[in-house]
Symmetry: C2
Subunit: 257 residues, 2 copies
């Protein structure tokens, strides 16, 4: 299938590489940022453009891997009205295409992508939605070429997936950063926390989050929590976060201990 | 070395197994809860007791792996005044032993332990502190038998390590649970999040938390965040948590994008 990719960010990059490895023909990359467009185009040996009017019209599939705010504008084009147009966003309903395209859908890979971190796309769950059973079949086939875990979900469920991902990934990574900052105050290297971080994630392969929970808040160990809050005295935001999360954990396990 | 372990919880269990594998002789387990004491004693083929007055006095090392609140009472004993007494708590200063023991210290393994999840203790960072250079040497030798990563830290730094661990592990695992609950509302299986959870942790081996951060809060993508907050309308605590964490992430990356 001839494909044009609109976007050259983290997701566009990993998706383009996975599709090319699967034998798909990516003919062009579009990005307003020339350095990003060129970088990705070079990687996959495709053409690139920064001018929306120069997007090729002969592709069969246009993949929009851009921010939600850019998406609304970018899909209002007249390129290839007979082609399939899909976006890759967790929180944008498929219906965004309804008034501007005739064949459309969504391919949402549930993963955190950074350009400088390789990933095995076959393990990435991919959630698809389409404007017709025929397109659904096309997208299922395409997604199955790059992933072993393809699911059909509607826009509402995809939004829930995205919210869950924000908690399980974006917020989690922020907490890694908080822990790093706390160690820095004692001039302790962040590396000593890596086994703990990896084990906390790995446990989820064997135990439910409820079974895996440990720590002072679960035990309602006020002695420990008070010491920790005292140490966070000069960082009111962190102190508040510590208090709120501990409170939520305590309430969750109140009737279990 | 002849060892008595006071406690039979998650940490006591993993520590006892690791020490036994390293060739140490654990002669007895004490726990007030008979079922736990017996379970661990059976595992390592040691004796057990639930009566504090029956703790053997011939051991050279007494390891207190109990909750912080139990610790204060338990160390006020007259058992084996010439032996080394150590605790394993992140947030309890070594000085807790000062008025009741002559040889003492701390061995703090920085990891999350659940009884039903195996672990490679050699990868666990272990932080030690001792009442004298001689005890320090003993504890370093002992810790090195079970772990490849032994560090000497004072009580203040150990407290910081514990706080960092609460953020990087206990709070992180709680967020896994939040994401599970959100998926349940759409009858989506939690399993679809596991690749994301594992990749988020794995990234930390290659990128700093700052480099690894992704998501709407980092991009200050209000469109997405507003949709998420709307979906969380009926869960005010989660909504507040979402808002606070997003705000903190946004502020952190304000001058970077």
């Amino acid at each position: 299938m001839k494909i044009v990719i609109i976007g050259a960010g983290n997701l566009a990059t990993h998706l383009a590489l996975a599709l090319q490895n699967a034998g798909e023909e990516i003919i062009q990359i579009f990005s307003r940022t020339e350095i990003s467009a060129k970088e990705l185009a070079d990687k996959i040996k495709a053409d690139f453009t920064t001018d929306f009017n120069n997007i090729y019209s002969e592709a069969e599939l246009y993949i929009y891997a851009v921010s939600d705010s850019a998406l609304t504008d970018l899909i209002k084009n007249n390129i290839a009205p007979e082609a399939i147009h899909i976006h890759t966003a967790g929180s944008v309903p498929m219906q965004i295409f309804e008034s501007v395209k005739s064949k459309f859908g969504v391919v949402y890979p549930l993963q955190t992508f950074s350009k400088n971190k390789e990933i095995n796309f076959r393990d990435v769950p991919v959630f698809i939605e389409a404007s017709s059973p025929e397109i659904q079949k096309n997208l299922f086939k395409l997604a199955s070429e790059i992933s072993d875990h393809v699911f059909e979900v509607n826009s509402q469920s995809r939004l829930q997936l995205h919210i869950a991902a924000v908690f399980a990934c974006n917020f989690v990574n922020f907490l890694y950063g908080v822990s790093k900052d706390i160690l820095n105050q004692s001039e302790l290297p962040f590396e000593v926390l890596i086994p703990l971080i990896c084990e906390t994630a790995d446990k989820i392969n064997y135990l439910s989050p409820e079974e895996a929970q440990t720590g002072p808040a679960k035990r309602n160990d006020m002695q420990v929590m008070d010491k920790h809050l005292l140490m966070l005295e000069n960082q009111p935001e962190l102190k508040e976060l510590y208090r709120n999360l501990s409170q939520m954990i305590f309430k969750k396990y109140l009737h279990q201990s």
